[in-house]
């Protein structure tokens, strides 16, 4: 048994010839909270989907617990996924089921536990995220932060070894953000799980992550502990961490010469 539960080895992935990832290497040690950061559209969420086996890499491989994900058949992938829990960006709660049934869903689908035991387990999970009192609500009756906490309870329903978070802080008010932040760290330590956070919120992520990867232009641009990265002199990391407007990531999308384009447009209208 290796000390890394997930290993990404020389991974490339692309659609229609355009590569989104070019030879990425990452390791995720057991029991740690590891963050993957990068700008919008840098393929962070795609990495989670590659770990979950929802898409196949063009080159390289992802190993979960020593098994190569894309070489598994359907059964094998499902076996691997039972070790994972995932929190989707907007919670992805089943809107036709109540909060209770949402958390009970993985237990009912994947185990043969008696209903009485499922009830106890669901209430325990909901209690862990502080929403035991809301178990009879429907997802549409919840606020964004509450919905995400319910989704978190659902993700940890079967005590997974790996918990993946897709933008857990996006679109939350500061209080909910703080709650989620604390929950990620405490659940990780309480369950002895490994957490993978995909995010672009620097402050919260640096607060709880043990190790951070920066992804830019399909490559790992920088990596290290949050303290190291705060001090980093790399221009990209500096720009990202401090939120500078211009830098290696340019303000302007690549375009032709400004002056000639304006002149061209006006002459085009005349003709």
């Amino acid at each position: 048994m290796t000390s890394n539960i997930v290993e990404i080895d020389n991974l490339s992935f692309g659609y229609k010839g355009r590569l989104l990832h070019k030879g990425i290497n990452m390791v995720f040690p057991r029991g740690k909270v590891v963050a993957i950061m990068g700008g919008s559209g840098s393929g962070k969420t795609t990495l989670l989907r590659l770990i979950g086996g929802q898409i196949k890499p063009s080159h390289g491989e992802v190993r979960v617990d020593g098994d190569v994900v894309h070489k598994q058949d359907r059964e094998g992938i499902y076996t691997l996924r039972r070790k994972m829990g995932m929190l989707f960006q907007h919670g992805a709660l089943f809107t036709d089921l109540s909060v209770f049934d949402n958390v009970a869903f993985p237990m009912r689908e994947l185990t043969d536990l008696p209903e009485a035991m499922i009830r106890d387990l669901v209430l325990m999970k909901l209690n862990a995220v502080g929403l035991r009192g809301a178990h009879q609500f429907m997802p549409t009756e919840l606020s964004g932060g509450m919905a995400r906490r319910v989704a978190l309870a659902r993700a940890i329903a079967l005590d997974p070894a790996i918990i993946m978070y897709d933008e857990p802080f996006a679109g939350l008010d500061p209080i909910s953000m703080g709650v989620i932040c604390a929950l990620i760290r405490s659940l990780n330590d309480a369950l002895g799980a490994t957490s993978i956070i995909v995010s672009h919120d620097v402050k919260e992520t640096f607060l709880i992550a043990d190790y951070v990867y920066f992804v830019a232009n399909g490559e790992v641009a920088a990596e290290g502990t949050p303290e190291d990265l705060m001090q980093s002199k790399l221009p990209f990391v500096h720009q990202f961490v401090h939120g500078d407007k211009d830098g290696p990531v340019p303000f302007h999308y690549p375009a032709g010469d400004y002056r000639s384009e304006l002149l061209q447009a006006s002459s085009g209208q005349k003709g």
């Binding site: 979950g52 929802q54 992938i77 499902y78 076996t79 996924r81 039972r82 994972m84 995932m86 989707f88 960006q89 907007h90 992805a92 709660l93 089943f94 809107t95 036709d96 869903f105 993985p106 689908e109 994947l110 989704a151």
Partner: protein, 268 residues
């Protein structure tokens, strides 16, 4: 100069047509694959039958009202129109036959399928499209739960079970509507109405064939609705377009298939 421009625009149209053809063929294949997978993974929907039961409630029971009301009016109109023509030939007793045959053979299965596409089909497409848009299907996949077994198969079987039931109800209610117009209102003889009907409606040739038709329509309408939901682009606009397509494609397919099935049934 003009000629080459015309050529170019023609080429452009031709390319567009080819593109659309390929797109449609692709969708047909993908739909057929979904159908196949729904059959393969349908064990779950029978082992845990309450999943299917729930969908029968949403597709079948919820369509009951529109089916009954429409059938009643269709039957009444058929009787009125039929009487208008039949009485010219002095055979207004045959009104029962006319109403019953029209309903059992054609209007029952076809109108039910059209209403089903509009009522239940759109609901299925919108629901699955939204589940996709809000990543509920992805979440299910990541929980190692197969969405085809958990979401598609129960809805498929619910549609296949509901459709013949709805069509039978439609035919029966329609005949009752026709009876109400013909007998108490117009004054056709009660006995002649039913006896002529019984003498001329054949159980296997008319009623069973009607049920077979509605079974086929059940498979087709439900499958189209499911596929459109699955295939919808995950945006609000994508889902709304998919819903429209469900109605359009289902209706055209039902009418076309009806012709093919009828011609088979009349030959055999």
């Amino acid at each position: 100069m003009m000629k080459s421009k015309l050529m170019l625009s023609m080429l452009h149209h031709l390319r567009g047509m080819g593109h659309r053809m390929i797109e449609r063929t692709w969708r047909l294949g993908a739909g057929a694959r979904l159908f196949f997978l729904a059959i393969v993974y349908s064990g779950e929907s029978f082992k845990r039958f309450h999943l299917t039961l729930r969908e029968i409630y949403f597709t079948g029971v919820m369509s009951l009202l529109i089916i009954i009301v429409s059938a009643f009016f269709v039957g009444m109109v058929l009787a009125l129109q039929g009487y208008n023509t039949l009485q010219k030939y002095g055979s207004s007793e045959a009104i029962g036959v006319l109403v019953a045959l029209a309903l059992v053979r054609e209007l029952g299965p076809v109108v039910t399928a059209l209403l089903f596409a509009g009522r239940a089909g759109t609901a299925i497409t919108a629901e699955i499209g939204l589940m996709k848009t809000t990543e509920q299907l992805s979440a299910m996949e990541m929980m190692a739960v197969n969405p085809i077994a958990r979401v598609v198969a129960p809805r498929f079987w619910a549609g296949v079970i509901s459709m013949p039931i709805l069509a039978s109800i439609f035919s029966m209610v329609g005949i009752l509507g026709g009876y109400l117009v013909a007998v108490p209102l117009i004054g056709v003889d009660d006995g002649a109405f039913w006896s002529q009907m019984q003498a001329n409606v054949d159980f296997s040739a008319d009623i069973v064939n009607g049920v077979i038709k509605s079974l086929v329509f059940g498979v087709v309408c439900t499958m189209i609705a499911l596929f459109e939901g699955f295939d919808a682009p995950p945006t609000a606009e994508g889902v709304s377009r998919a819903t429209t397509r469900t109605v359009v494609i289902s209706s055209l397919t039902v009418l076309g298939l009806d012709f093919i099935l009828t011609s088979f049934m009349l030959v055999v």
